[in-house]
């Protein structure tokens, strides 16, 4: 999995700028989406399912930028879709950071 991250990073990745401030309403929407829509595959407690586990302990060694990249672009050949059409880079970055810090549960 980690190799996949790095390959993806080497390919086209330019680091996302520091996430601009999202409104509290949007954060609540994103949190809801992670729990209930991402949760179908990753579990409501982020312990995983068809998708990978996404608790801080599972994400150790994965930086938020790589995770945001995967959220936006998906994982080729796996069910993880590219969410780019539904959320922007700042929002993906916010979700990635919240997951690595265990703030969504």
């Amino acid at each position: 999995m980690r190799r996949l991250f790095s390959v993806a990073l080497l390919a086209v990745w330019a680091p996302i700028a520091v996430a601009s401030e999202l409104s509290d309403t949007r954060k609540a929407e994103l949190r809801h989406m992670v729990l209930h829509d991402c949760g179908s595959c990753h579990g409501m407690t982020m312990k995983g399912g068809l998708g990978s586990a996404l608790r801080p302990v599972d994400l150790e060694g994965t930086d938020a930028d790589s995770l945001a990249y995967i959220i936006l672009n998906g994982v080729p050949g796996k069910p993880m879709p590219a969410w780019r059409a539904l959320i922007n880079e700042d929002e993906a970055k916010w979700i990635a950071e919240a997951l690595t810090k265990g703030l969504i549960k």
Binding site: H32, D37, G39, K47, L50, A85
Partner: protein, 392 residues
Amino acid sequence: MRAIGLIALLFSCLWPAAAYTAELRGTGDLGIIVERASGSVVVIDTSRHSIIHRVKGLGDLSHASAVFSRDQRYAFVFGRDGGLTKVDLLKGEISGRTVQAGNSIGGAISDDGKLVAVSNYKPGGVKVFDAKTLDLIADIPAISGKGGERSKTVGLVDAPGRRFIFSLYDAGEIWIADFSAPGAPKLTKFGDAGKLPYDALITGDGRHYIAGLFGEDGLTHIDLWADKPETQTILKDYGRGDRKLPVYKMPHLEGWAKAGDRFILPAVGHHQLLAVDTRTFEHVGTVKLHGQPIFAVARPDGRHAWVNFALPHNDTIQVVDIPTLKVIHEFKPGPAALHMEFTPRGHEVWLSVRDADKVHIYDARTFAKKGELGVTKPSGIFFTARATRTGL
């Protein structure tokens, strides 16, 4: 004195659950609705359109599902966190619970009602329990003959003759576990089931097992009535040439719809349902839809299918007329219309609208809304009549 009488009267009105448990009643019109965020289920009376119990303490119920005992008194609820919980619908309480794995995805009950099987992601495999006591009867680790680690299992269904059938997601295999003889189950393994089977269905007659594939176009079919059942790829070309869209939610095959000589299935990554001839398994038609279908659930007579959708179209329902393959009705019940369940003879359909915290009840013929219930983050809806059907 009159005041006391009044209070007593008020009290009895406010205590419907107590009144129900005291009352002699059948369970054929009961059901459960999963409250995914709070680890609870509500027991519903589908005749009175009411909630009669709320049962808590079932763990992580994201993507939870349920099957019923033959007498339709007990629901077996399969949680995401490996929990298998037996709920007494009449008493409104948990009558047994085991956390049997770390991560699970649904289950099935044998045709004789004695065995409950659970499909596990972690550790990958299937475990089978005594339906009465929830004691472990068999543990089937899904380790492919090709080697590798334990595979996640999906698409677990019951088949006639005390059999369970399931697919190995990582290994791309389909296994049959036959419990018809005492002792360890007899396993039959199909090693060539396609790439990443993600869900499956069995037809109500127990004849056809069909697994949807994520890793390639097409589905894998096994005719279980054949002398020597074998895997066959069907609908190999359904997506070819069209760009696949990102799949924000995997379609479910369980609500497969069959009418006369065709049945219809949700296409992965396309705004389409596929119609298939039930004898040749040839692709005979396509229904263009509002979004990517999740469930295409047949009204019990098979004339119509109700279809819901993945993000960003999950506020909409379309109704498809199966003989003509035309969309005949569309409406927007609200945000995250996730799961639909028909009453056994199809007079009503119940629909969970997760983000509105509501369950809606519709007349399945006129499409008129008949009522709604307040339910917290509702997802799956399961009526006890499922006990009488293979594969549900």
